[in-house]
């Protein structure tokens, strides 16, 4: 299946604005994030803490709806899903 990953703000600078990923059927959101992390140390650091737990300060969305931590593990992805990643900006 094919899932679109859309990156915003700081994460866009690391990953690029938009990439398409081929994933095995039944892949979860956690699986996708871990797969992204394996692509480079920069991506791993932008998504996970030292223990490999997804950073709470990063907003992850599937089809424009924010996902909670609990949903990361349980959320199965489907062909055509759009996953968006937004590390919130903080300046004013």
């Amino acid at each position: 299946m094919r899932v679109q990953v859309k990156a915003f703000a700081g994460f866009r600078e690391i990953l690029g604005p938009d990439i398409a990923l081929e994933l095995p059927e039944g892949s979860t959101l956690t699986g996708l994030l871990e797969g992204l992390g394996r692509r480079s140390p920069g991506i791993q650091k932008a998504l996970f803490d030292d223990q490999g737990t997804p950073l709470k300060s990063v907003i992850i969305m599937v089809n424009k709806k924010r996902q909670t931590r609990a949903e990361f593990v349980s959320r199965e992805l489907h062909d055509g899903d759009e996953v968006a990643i937004y590390p919130p900006v903080a300046g004013g």
């Binding site: 604005p17 300060s57 424009k64 924010r66 919130p88 900006v89 300046g91 004013g92």
Partner: protein
């Protein structure tokens, strides 16, 4: 009651929401936290729209590095307190309003007292630690809260109605790391004006508030994206329901 001069000044928007809407703006007290990149445009448009009482809080003085985006501060203001500089420009723009400058640092200790009695809070701060204190103060006082934040070409904003909608900590449960952020003036210009826009809608009762949504501005693609967010039943700030936030108020 509006004066003849006010009827004339606001005639184009009175066509939109009537004298009643304009009177609501006139009798409103809005707390603007921050007189920087977001606070300047937000305050300018709220002053121009005729919000009767603006409270502007910021503890900083004007620095030359502020001038690419903080449009109420001029070269001649360098070294002056931002709230004094902002007040001067806002009153010159609209002498019929009241602008109360507060040169304070917003913290858990004073936020609730500062916003008490205000009708709306505009979050134009630059750290999430301070924002969390302000968010909790708005929840405690049941005051609508318009959140905005920017960096570089990116920004986001959201409207929060305490007890009814997702709060700031429901949306962003942990503060992003603090850093000196790069920024082009149009980014906070855009988000700050959106915050003022949502504030005017909220006060005059026009349209639908941007609640339970985070509006992302991707300035490189020049695109807005709306993200749906829900209340977090375990949110440490609002507890996900109105009873929980009420309980916290008593502690």
């Amino acid at each position: 009651m509006l004066t003849d001069s006010e009827r004339e000044r606001y005639s184009r928007q009175i066509l939109l929401f009537g004298e009643e809407g304009q009177e609501r703006l006139k009798s409103s007290k809005v707390f603007i936290a921050g007189a920087g990149g977001l606070g300047c445009p937000a305050a300018a448009y709220l002053a121009a729209a005729g919000v009767g009482h603006l409270v502007i809080a910021d503890c900083d003085s004007v620095d030359r590095t502020n001038l690419n985006r903080q449009i109420l501060h001029y070269e001649s203001d360098i070294g002056r307190p931002k709230v004094v500089s902002a007040r001067e420009k806002l009153l010159s723009m609209n002498p019929d309003i009241r602008v109360e400058p507060l040169a304070v640092i917003i913290s858990d200790n004073n936020a609730s007292t500062l916003v008490s009695g205000c009708d709306l809070v505009v979050d134009a701060l630059d750290t999430f630690t301070d924002r969390y204190a302000l968010n909790r103060a708005a929840i405690r006082n049941r005051i609508p809260y318009i959140h905005g934040a920017v960096s570089g070409f990116d920004g986001h904003m959201a409207t929060i109605i305490p007890g009814e909608t997702a709060c700031l900590e429901c949306m962003v449960p942990e503060a992003p790391p603090r850093s000196v952020f790069p920024v082009v003036g149009t980014t906070p210009g855009l988000i700050g004006v959106l915050q003022a826009h949502e504030a005017i809608k909220q006060i005059t009762g026009q349209g639908e508030p941007l609640t339970n949504q985070l509006v992302l501005w991707d300035g490189k693609a020049s695109q807005f994206t709306m993200i749906r967010v829900e209340r977090d039943p375990d949110c440490p700030a609002c507890g996900g329901d109105s009873r929980a936030s009420g309980r916290r108020r008593e502690i």
